[in-house]
Structures are given as structure tokens and as C-alpha cells.
């Protein structure tokens, strides 16, 4: 097995999905909002990045827009697009609570997914947008994939720092108060509705960035990459990591990605054994989840990290 390659992939994907899990954590653990459509915000980032960087359509291309902008402007636009998408989807849904919000966000994501599938002028339909380019080359002796992994990790760290800054402020305390007891928080002058809306919008921005980086990584923006499965994986990572700790969330995501990648990269001798492994993967995944939920190792590790700090 190619360990360096595996670790680079885990670092890259772990960072990208870590950003999504962190944002979900902000929405859920601090804002009390259940978003089961998080993949849509991620997809908006990826597609926006692809559309703004790709060349204008030619030949057989069915997509209508390609702007050929520099990569970094497209990343910024991806974050803004996710913000706008959050504003549009949040406006009718955020009045709903708990499972109703979960259902509507899920429905929004499904509608968006089917829009991507069927509206060829935006994203080329099922084929997707395949003209995404990675912006970084080798940095002297450092290979491109390491540079890229570093950039993804940087996005994760930046997101972590910005969220932390927000959460240690009185703003974060007010969010905790609202989540703990909304009626009492209102009686203490906290504008619960407004703050929830803000959290929903703020947390969408890094998800848009992460979507852009994911599009760079896969050099593709395709509907099959943005199914509800992404939402579930990110939720599982959140639960694994322990919703109350940002470090646990990051560790949980990294652990989950590592597990998936190691199953994918295992050098099987025969096709038959690969088939067996593929079917066993689901069983093992289930067993690992049960074990992790029972013993919560990531959460414990995160707590130790916090204590020793």
C-alpha cells in the first residue's frame, strides 16, 4: 500500500470535509439547527467555482456559462454563492424547528440535485463540468499534491480560527443561551431569530469555499459527487467527533475519511476479493460506527487536547 499517497489524500479530503463538519457543528451544536441538506451548499461552491473558472462553452458543451476567471476570484465567488443560497433557502425554512427544518433542508438539497441533473445549461447535466483545473503547480521541490493538501489544511485551520473567535465572544455565549433556553434568552434581550439566521449564513461561506476546493481536487463538478450520502457522512463525522467540541469534530472527520480511504486503497489480489471487501466494507463501517459511538475515542482525545492546552 502506498502510505504517503494515502496520507496526503486523507489530509486533503479530511480538511475539505472537516470544514463542512465544522460548519454543520456551528449550525447544530451552537445554533440548534438541523441541516440535512448541507451537501447542496457544498455543491453550490463546487459548481460556482467550475463555472467561473472554466472556458466559455464550445463544441459539444451543453453548459451556457464559462467565465475563465482566475482561481482565487472564483473561490471568493463560491463562498458568496453559498451565502446567497443560504439566504434564499434559509428565509422560508428557519422559522421551522427541529425535524421540520431537517426535512425542508433535505428537500431543498434534493431539488437542487435534480436541478443539476436536469438543467444542462448550468452544469452539463449528469456529465458535469470536467474542465476544472487545479490552480497550484509544484512549489520548487514540493510536489503539487502536497501543496494542495497544505492549502486544504489551511482552509480548515482558518475556518477553525474564525469560528473559535466568534464562539468565545459574547456572541457565542448568546448563542449558547438561545440553544439552552430560547424563552429565557429572549427575556434577556437576545434576538434569537436574527442570530440563528446569521449563524446559518455565516456557516455557509466556508462550505462554499470547501466545495470550490473539492472541485479542484476532483477536477470535476458532477451531480453524482453531491448526493445525500455526503450529508450523511458529514453528520456521522459530527456525531463521531462529539458535537460539543470543535477539535473532536475535526478528528472525527479525519478518522472517517481515513477509514474510507484505507478500504479503497487496500491492494486486493483478485477481483473476487475486492468484491467481497466492497460488500464487507458496509458491515465493517457499521461495526466501527457502533464501536466509536460506544467509546467515543475522538471526543475523548479532543477533551484531552483541551485539558492539556
Amino acid at each position: 500500500m502506498n502510505w504517503p499517497q494515502l496520507l496526503v489524500t486523507v489530509l486533503t479530503l479530511g480538511s475539505i470535509f472537516g470544514v463542512v463538519t465544522l460548519s454543520l457543528n456551528l449550525q447544530y451544536a451552537r445554533g440548534g439547527m438541523i441541516n440535512f441538506g448541507i451537501v447542496a451548499y457544498f455543491a453550490v461552491g463546487a459548481y460556482t467555482y467550475a463555472i467561473f473558472t472554466q472556458p466559455p462553452p464550445q463544441g459539444l458543451d451543453q453548459y451556457k456559462f464559462g467565465f475563465g476567471w482566475p482561481w482565487w476570484t472564483a473561490v471568493i465567488v463560491a463562498g458568496l454563492a453559498a451565502l446567497v443560497f443560504a439566504a434564499v433557502t434559509g428565509w422560508p425554512t428557519l422559522r421551522l424547528r427541529g425535524e421540520y427544518l431537517a426535512l425542508t433542508t433535505f428537500a431543498f438539497a434534493e431539488v437542487f440535485h435534480s436541478l443539476l441533473l436536469n438543467e444542462r445549461r448550468i452544469g452539463n447535466g449528469t456529465v458535469g463540468l470536467a474542465r476544472v483545473e487545479r490552480p497550484f503547480g509544484d512549489w520548487g521541490p514540493i510536489e503539487e499534491k502536497y501543496v494542495f493538501a497544505g492549502a486544504a489544511a489551511l482552509l480548515l485551520v482558518a475556518t477553525l480560527l474564525v469560528f473559535r473567535r466568534l464562539l468565545v465572544s459574547p456572541y457565542g455565549r448568546a448563542l449558547d443561551a438561545i440553544r439552552d433556553d430560547e424563552t429565557a434568552a429572549l427575556a434577556a434581550g437576545k434576538p434569537a431569530q436574527k442570530m440563528r439566521r446569521q449563524v446559518f449564513l455565516i456557516s455557509a461561506v466556508p462550505v462554499g469555499f470547501a466545495g470550490a476546493v473539492y472541485a479542484m481536487f476532483t477536477t470535476l463538478a458532477q451531480p453524482s459527487l453531491f448526493t445525500a450520502e455526503v450529508t450523511f457522512i458529514v453528520w456521522i463525522a459530527l456525531v463521531l467527533g462529539g458535537e460539543r467540541s470543535v477539535y473532536g469534530v475535526v478528528l472525527g472527520t479525519a478518522g472517517l475519511v481515513f477509514f474510507e480511504e484505507i478500504v479503497r486503497a487496500w491492494p486486493f489480489e483478485t477481483v473476487r476479493s475486492a468484491q467481497i471487501a466492497a460488500s464487507v466494507e458496509h458491515v465493517v463501517t457499521g461495526l466501527v460506527f457502533i464501536a466509536v459511538l460506544r467509546y467515543q475515542p475522538f471526543q475523548a482525545a479532543a477533551t484531552r487536547l483541551k485539558v492539556s492546552k
Binding site: S169, Y171, A184, L186, Q193
Partner: protein, 266 residues
């Protein structure tokens, strides 16, 4: 002051209910036949009494924006706050506690009181900066002073889940006091509070009253309330049965038959 509704304005009232009512799926909780109207003067200490289910807590909900009145209006400082949200009403200076004490479980006792105050760092614009830290020290000091005042200073670092029911009540009072409200509505502050702490609470309320705070207190403990309040409102079936100074209320035959049950509580 001219107000809709026809009847003369209650002169100088700081907080005023005019024909308010609330119906819950057929049950008239507040309002009676013509809606509930009363005024609370600036600096007054008003007691709100009445049998279980009379509509006392619902009246508080209507005045603090937790519920919206079906009819009529609520005025505070001359502004119509009938349809204002509870957080804006709180920001305007009406504080309240709840019959079942509420607390922020994930925060410590001190942090609960600190969270009661409105810090500049609670707005998104300031949260990322550093200037809110200057105010933070002030708020924490104010919170500590108030905890001392309600007798919870030794519990400052405790989790709220470790507090007794009576301590929780005092914590809720503290969380409102740190906001320095113009009017404070207290819903059964002595319920579940042991006698020693009740005396402390009585002294505190007297202190707040002489400091100029306007108080409206719902109580079943008439012994406690009639000794403190200077004006009593008696509610029965959502309507005002009687009002006046405590001495008159004690002697009012209608009140005695509807509520005091022979005056044993006084």
C-alpha cells in the same frame, strides 16, 4: 394622552394594559367580558394575586411579548408594545422571571448572570474584534455584585444543574437584575424558596423598590406580598376582581370569598 379604546387614559402609568385578552382553544385565560385593563405607575410595587388558573402568568406573557394579546394593547413608556418581540421588549426595559425557573444549562452560575446582560460583543460586527473585552470586565463585575446581592456568590462557579429550586429562582432574578430593568415582573418568586432565603428576597425587593425600580409580583404567599406591595390587583377568571392598597384588599368581601377563603392566608 389619547388612546384607542374610548376609556380615559390611566394617567402617568408606566406600564398599561388596555382591554387585553388571550384565548387558548376556547378557554378564555385572560380578559373576562371586556378585556383586562390596568396600569402600573412608575416606581410602584404592585402585587398581582388570584386563584390558580386566574390568568396571572398569561398576563405576564402578554406584557413581556412571550404571547401576543388577541385584543387591546399594552403600552410601556407611551409606546405600543403589544406586538413587539420579547427580546425588544426586554431591551426596552421590561424584565421578567418565569413561574418555572429557567436557566442556561451549559453555562455556570456566573456566566448565566453575565449572559443576562447585553454586551456589545453580542453583535456580529463587534464579536470578531477585541473592543468588547473592555465591557466584559464591567459586566462580570456587575454580575458578581448581583450574585452577592441575591446570596449566590459562593455558587458562582457551580453548574446550574447543581442548584436547588430556590437557588435557581434567585439566579433568574439575578439574571434580570444585571439588565437593570425599569420594570421587573416576578412570577411567584418565593415558591420553593426556603424561609431564610425568602427574607433575603423580601429585603432585596424592598431595596429595589426604594431604588426606584417598578415591581409587579405574582405571589400565592400573601403574607409575603401584602407586607411589601403598595398596590394589589386581584385577578379571577382572567378579569380584574378588585384593586387597591393591601389593607382594603384584605377587607374586601368579594376578594375574601373568591380567593382568601375566610382571610386565613393573611
Amino acid at each position: 394622552m389619547t388612546l384607542p379604546g374610548g376609556a380615559a387614559a390611566l394617567n402617568g402609568a408606566l406600564l398599561e394594559a388596555r382591554h387585553i385578552s388571550k384565548r387558548f382553544s376556547g378557554l378564555q385565560a385572560v380578559g373576562g367580558s371586556d378585556g383586562l385593563s390596568f396600569g402600573v405607575d412608575r416606581g410602584a410595587f404592585v402585587g398581582l394575586i388570584g386563584p390558580n388558573g386566574a390568568g396571572k402568568s398569561t398576563t405576564f406573557d402578554l406584557m413581556s411579548g412571550v404571547q401576543t394579546s388577541d385584543t387591546g394593547s399594552v403600552f410601556f413608556n407611551g409606546h405600543d408594545i403589544t406586538r413587539s418581540s420579547p427580546d425588544t421588549i426586554a431591551e426596552q426595559g421590561i424584565g421578567r422571571t418565569f413561574q418555572t425557573p429557567r436557566a442556561f444549562e451549559s453555562l455556570t452560575v456566573l456566566q448565566n448572570v453575565v449572559a443576562g446582560a447585553t454586551s456589545p460583543g453580542e453583535s456580529l460586527r463587534w464579536a470578531f474584534g477585541r473592543s468588547w473585552r473592555n465591557h466584559e470586565t464591567e459586566i462580570v463585575e456587575a454580575a458578581q455584585a448581583i450574585l452577592r446581592r441575591v446570596g449566590l456568590h459562593e455558587r458562582a462557579a457551580a453548574r446550574v444543574s447543581d442548584l436547588s429550586g430556590g437557588e435557581l429562582r434567585m439566579l433568574e432574578v439575578a439574571r434580570q437584575l444585571v439588565r437593570d430593568p425599569t420594570v421587573l415582573l416576578l412570577d411567584e418568586p418565593t415558591a420553593g424558596v426556603h424561609p431564610g432565603l425568602q427574607e433575603r428576597l423580601a429585603a432585596l425587593l424592598q431595596d429595589l423598590h426604594s431604588g426606584g425600580m417598578t415591581l409587579v409580583v405574582v405571589e400565592h404567599n400573601l403574607h409575603f406580598l401584602l407586607a411589601l406591595a403598595d398596590h394589589i390587583l386581584v385577578l379571577a377568571d382572567g378579569a380584574l376582581l378588585a384593586q387597591g392598597p393591601p389593607a382594603d384588599i384584605r377587607a374586601d368581601p368579594a376578594v375574601i370569598s373568591a380567593y382568601l377563603g375566610g382571610g386565613d392566608a393573611a
